[in-house]
Subunit: 407 residues, 2 copies
């Protein structure tokens, strides 16, 4: 590949960042040949030659000179259509759409093989932190035990305003939206789905196993209330939205996205504001911590640039761990220790706790702390969506394995 001629889909915050970053990189030998957008007349921050802009996808997909496709559109359906068309034509693709990738990963892997066309998506998980690449290449052995982290910058920003800056939740959310951290519909970030999609992608590169998003317990922070914040503060902990995939024994792993009480001794305790932080734990090397800006125009764009450079050097994900002997199986048959706050919903009677450890009833809100099977949480997930309920996990409590109290 002498010079990279990029067809770019999407010219929002990240797309414009890519345009800027490529301009800065003297040694990338890459240029953007065409940019496909929904609305060619939309005002944009970046000053760009109008001849580069089109709203006709075929101007990119049918241009024989374009030898790489970069896709950063918002809409997962549009993303799927663009990426699959490009792969079928044998075009190398870089994508940043975590929702689309998480939902279609098995098919996308199969298409990469069938059409001998690589698809990279490191930017889709944790922006500028090279989590996927390191799980695929460096932690490419049987030693890996756990990947756990703060994968969503917007929700972390909001929680950080609450726990580090004593702001009320509603004000913190409004501020995040004002700064552009949270989408106009913030549920993608706030309800944990952004973290979930990243976790699905991480899991296939960490353990070689694809788990469907709908099979994973996902709980966000939209119902976080003053009494929960007070409870955490009294215990000297912060609440953070944590995604984790954990081997529970040689044959099984579990995974979920849930608020968690995070103790000051933990690495992720100090991941504040819009930052992301990931702990990779393994036999022999113990815990490694990677920390950086997980979102935003330029950090995401610099990650896309890394993927562009990697494609230039013929790098592709090999999904090696999918071919391993006896890959571990996903299980939700695992006991967690959770805090559940409620008001009207009769939580202690509705949920099949294995053991109730603590129960507190007051005018400010009731809570129960108990051990419960993850599969029961999944089964009763609709109940937990009631606006009077908030669920929060206690860390590394798995009844059937030895856990270290420190992270």
């Amino acid at each position: 590949m002498k010079e990279i001629k990029i067809g770019l889909f999407g010219f929002g915050v990240v797309g414009q960042g890519i345009y800027k970053v490529i301009g800065k990189s003297r040694n990338a030998h890459a240029k953007i040949k065409k940019i496909c957008v929904r609305d060619v007349n939309k005002k944009r921050e970046v000053d760009i030659d109008p001849v580069l802009i089109t709203d006709d996808p075929s101007e990119i997909l049918s241009d024989p000179e374009i030898n790489m496709l970069v896709e950063v559109v918002d809409n997962p359906q549009a993303s799927y259509s663009i990426v699959t068309q490009a792969l079928k034509r044998g075009l190398p693709v870089v994508s940043g759409n975590k929702a689309m990738i998480a939902r279609h990963l098995p098919e996308l892997i199969e298409m990469q093989r069938r059409y001998n066309a690589p698809l990279l998506y490191d930017a889709s998980s944790c922006g500028s932190i090279p989590v996927i690449r390191n799980l695929e290449e460096y932690y490419d052995n049987d030693l890996l035990l756990e990947v756990k982290g703060i994968l969503n910058g917007s929700s972390n920003y909001i929680l950080s305003r609450v726990f580090d800056h004593n702001e009320p939740y509603a004000k913190a959310l409004a501020r995040a939206q004002q700064l552009g951290f949270a989408e106009s519909d913030p549920s993608f970030d706030i309800e944990g789905f952004d973290s979930l999609f990243k976790l699905i992608i991480i899991t296939i590169h960490a353990l070689g196993v694809y788990v469907k998003p709908e099979d994973v317990f996902t709980y966000g922070i939209s119902t976080l209330g003053e009494s929960d914040i007070r409870y955490a503060r009294e215990k000297g902990v912060k609440i953070k939205l944590v995604a984790q995939v954990v081997k529970v024994n040689d044959d099984n792993f579990t995974m979920f996205v849930m608020p968690e009480f995070v103790y000051p001794s933990r690495y992720i305790y100090s991941v504040d504001d819009e930052y992301n932080g990931v702990v990779i734990r393994g036999e022999c090397y113990d815990r490694q911590f990677m920390f950086g800006k997980g979102a935003g125009s330029l950090p995401t764009a610099s990650s896309i640039l890394s993927d562009i450079m990697a494609l230039r050097h013929n790098y592709r994900y090999e999904y090696k761990k999918m071919g391993y002997l006896n890959p571990p199986s996903y299980t939700s048959d695992i006991e967690l220790k959770v805090y559940i706050r409620y008001k009207e919903t009769p939580v202690p009677g509705l949920l099949p706790f294995r053991q109730i450890i603590e129960q507190h009833i007051s005018q400010n809100g009731n809570y129960v702390i108990g051990s419960i099977l993850l599969k029961d949480l999944i089964k009763l997930r609709p109940i937990l969506s009631a606006p009077d309920i908030f669920v929060c996990n206690f860390p590394t409590f798995f009844a059937d394995r030895d856990t270290s109290p420190e992270e």
Copy 2:
């Protein structure tokens, strides 16, 4: 490569760790066929079939079945001899000897090309933290501005005992030796040479430029005294031994290993005990932080395993940045702000300070704080070796560039 048959040189702490780690890894498809040691009769912790052990290098180098060589001997001359013989025979090699690699890197790169034999050495820098691989592959673009970190676990352990646990320096050093963190001759760690060699290796993968170890200012912590510790404590900072390579403008970079006053707001402030931590700073992605166990038997062995797996998948360092347009040049013509404590040596008169900012004279020790050119520090390095002198850098003080006060 169907099955990896390893010839292992060295069976000390790391060598035995490799033996254990390979045993744990079901999917590595690797086995150790022969182990070459200096003394076959030496008692070892690991129980091993004596038929595997030899003291004759040719039993490895001339065995046509052995298809990978792993070298973790202590002695740099022995390491050089083994690695170059293997490369000449076209054998893929994994090495952990940072001193040997840092001294011979240009020749080793040339030999890899000439004999089409790859050499990987990720374990040589920061043990289990994948710094080299990420600099080579992920930060493979013009955005990189700085790599700065704590690269030596032993000296960091000692400083952590002093600053986090209030131990006297001598006691901390003794404890480190007792725990096996510091070598019986601790000068390699304590005087900064271990950090220096790692920095040399990091620099070629970060910026594509080889700098000879002897051209880099290197100052350790052996002369750290009570008055320096008190000074740092009063200012609310810790002293850490920091290695850094920093672009000072588009055309130049500088590098050095020196104790530094580290402020609580910095990522590396919380790198305690025997841990390593590296900050990678770039345009667009700002600062990323990688943290983990930098040394020790199993962490280093797990990093060696990553290199073994990478060789299995035909990975090699391409040293791409060495081919970049206008690589930056190393400069020592750069102003630093330093603290120099002294007693008998008349430091203020001997050193050509550009500006003296503060001077303090007392019975407990005198110090001067001033700005000075790095090249003058290099020139007068022998003077600074006097036992009454301790030098400590103030962070990110470069007169000719904008620096952010926060890390």
